[in-house]
Symmetry: C2
Subunit: 214 residues, 2 copies
DNA sequence: GCCCCGTCTGAACGACGTTAAGTTCGTGCC
DNA sequence: GGCACGAACTTAACGTCGTTCAGACGGGGC
C-alpha cells in the first residue's frame, strides 16, 4: 500500500519545486518579477495549481522568506565555525556582523524581501527560543567576551541589539542607494562594516569612559 | 492678460491636491492602498487625469517621497534649534538621532516608502551639496564636537555614518516587527535609541582605548 | 466495469497601471 | 457673432495581476 506514500512524496516534491521557482524568480528578477503566473510557468503548471499547495501568494512568499532566514543563519554560523578556533569572542562577534552584511550584498533581493515585506518577522525566529536565532548567538558571543574580560561589563542583550541595528542599518542604507555619495563599491561597504563592528565595542573596552555607566 | 497665470495657478493647485491625496492615502492605508484609482477618486477626478500631471505612478510617488524627506529634515532641524541654546555639540548629535527615530515611529508608512522603494535615494539629497541634508548636518555636529574637545579626534564623516546606520537600522528593525521580542513599546524603542546614541560616541570620548587608532 | 476522489486546468472576476480616442468648453481671432 | 483652436477632462479599453470555481482527467478500490 505504498501508493499513499508515493502521492505524498510527489506532493512534497512539487511544493518544493514551487518554492524553489519562486526563490529563483525573486533572485533573477526581483520582487516585481515574482508573480504567481510566472512561478506557474516556470514549474510548468497552471497558476491555479499553486493554490492547491499554498493558500495564497502571501503564504508562498512566507515560505521563501523562511528559507532566506535559514540561509542567513547558515552563513553566519559557518563564519562562526570558521573563526571559532583562532579568534577571540569579541572578534567572532565582529565576524558575525561581517557575515551578515556579506549575505545581504550577495543576495540583495532575498535580503530585501526578508526585512521589507510586512509580517515576515516571525520567520526570523528560532523555533525553540522565540527570538531570531542569530541574535541569540550574538548575545551569547557578547556574554562570552564579557566573561573573558575582553570587554567591560555591559548588558549583552542590549549590546547585541546595537550591533545588529548598526550592521542592519548600514546594510539597508547601502542596498537602497542612500549611501552612494559616501560608499561607492561593495569593498568600500565591507570596510565600513569592519570599522563599524570595531567602533561599536570600542566603548565597551575596559577603561573606556562611561562604559560602566550604561 | 492674467488668464494664463490663472490657468497655471489652477494647474499647480490640482497637482498639489493630487500629491496631498496620495500622501493621505499612504498614511491612512499604507502602500497597498496607494492606487492611482483611489487617488483619483479622492480628488474627484478620473484616473486618466492624473496622467496629465504626472508621467506615471512612479513620478507621483517620487514627489510624495520628496516631501517626506522635507518633513524629516524639518523635524531634525527643529530639534536642533530647540536644543541649540543649551546642549553641547555631542548632545545635539544625540538629539538628531532621537528626532530621526521619532519621525519614523510617528510616520511609519511615510518612512517605509522613503527608504524601501527602489530609486528614492536621490530625494534625500540636498540640492546644493549632493548628499542627504541631515547627514551633512550630523557631520558638522560631530566636527564641532571634535573641535570643542568633547570627543577624541575621529573622522566626522565616518562617525556620522555610524550614527545614521545605527539609528536607521534599529528603526527599520523596530518598524518591521523584528525587535518584538526585545522591544515592546514605542517608549522602549525611544529608550533604546537614547542608549544607542550614547553608546556610539562613548568610544570616541578622550581616553577611550583604540579611539585614536581608527 | 464502474465510481470516487485527488489532481489539474480553462475561463472567468475584480482590481491594478496605463493609454488612445473622444467630448467639453473657455479663449482668441476674423 | 461665429468659428477654430487647444487645453482639460473622461470614457473605454488593453494587458497585467491575484484569486476562484466549474468541470475534465485518470488511477485505485470495490
Amino acid at each position: 500500500m505504498g501508493v499513499a506514500e508515493r502521492r505524498e512524496r510527489e506532493r512534497a516534491e512539487l511544493r518544493r519545486q514551487i518554492i524553489d521557482a519562486a526563490r529563483d524568480l525573486l533572485v533573477e528578477q526581483g520582487l516585481p518579477g515574482l508573480s504567481m503566473r510566472a512561478i506557474a510557468e516556470r514549474v510548468e503548471y497552471s497558476p491555479a495549481t499553486i493554490y492547491l499547495y499554498f493558500r495564497d501568494k502571501h503564504e508562498l512568499v512566507d515560505e521563501v522568506v523562511h528559507t532566506g532566514f535559514g540561509m542567513l543563519a547558515e552563513t553566519v554560523e559557518a563564519e562562526l565555525v570558521r573563526t571559532g578556533e583562532t579568534a577571540s569572542a569579541i572578534d567572532q562577534y565582529g565576524a558575525m556582523g561581517r557575515a551578515y552584511a556579506r549575505f545581504a550584498v550577495e543576495n540583495p533581493a532575498y535580503f530585501r524581501v526578508m526585512f521589507e515585506l510586512p509580517g515576515t518577522a516571525e520567520h526570523s525566529c528560532d523555533p525553540v527560543v522565540e527570538s531570531p536565532a542569530d541574535f541569540e548567538a550574538a548575545v551569547a558571543m557578547v556574554r562570552r567576551a564579557v566573561e573573558a574580560g575582553e570587554v567591560d561589563a555591559v548588558d549583552p542583550r542590549r549590546m547585541a541589539l546595537m550591533g545588529w541595528g548598526l550592521v542592519h542599518g548600514l546594510t539597508t542604507l547601502f542596498l537602497s542607494g542612500h549611501l552612494s555619495t559616501e560608499i561607492r563599491s561593495t569593498d568600500d561597504f565591507m570596510d565600513l562594516i569592519e570599522d563599524a563592528m570595531k567602533s561599536i565595542y570600542t566603548g565597551w573596552k575596559p577603561g573606556a569612559p562611561g562604559a560602566e555607566a550604561t
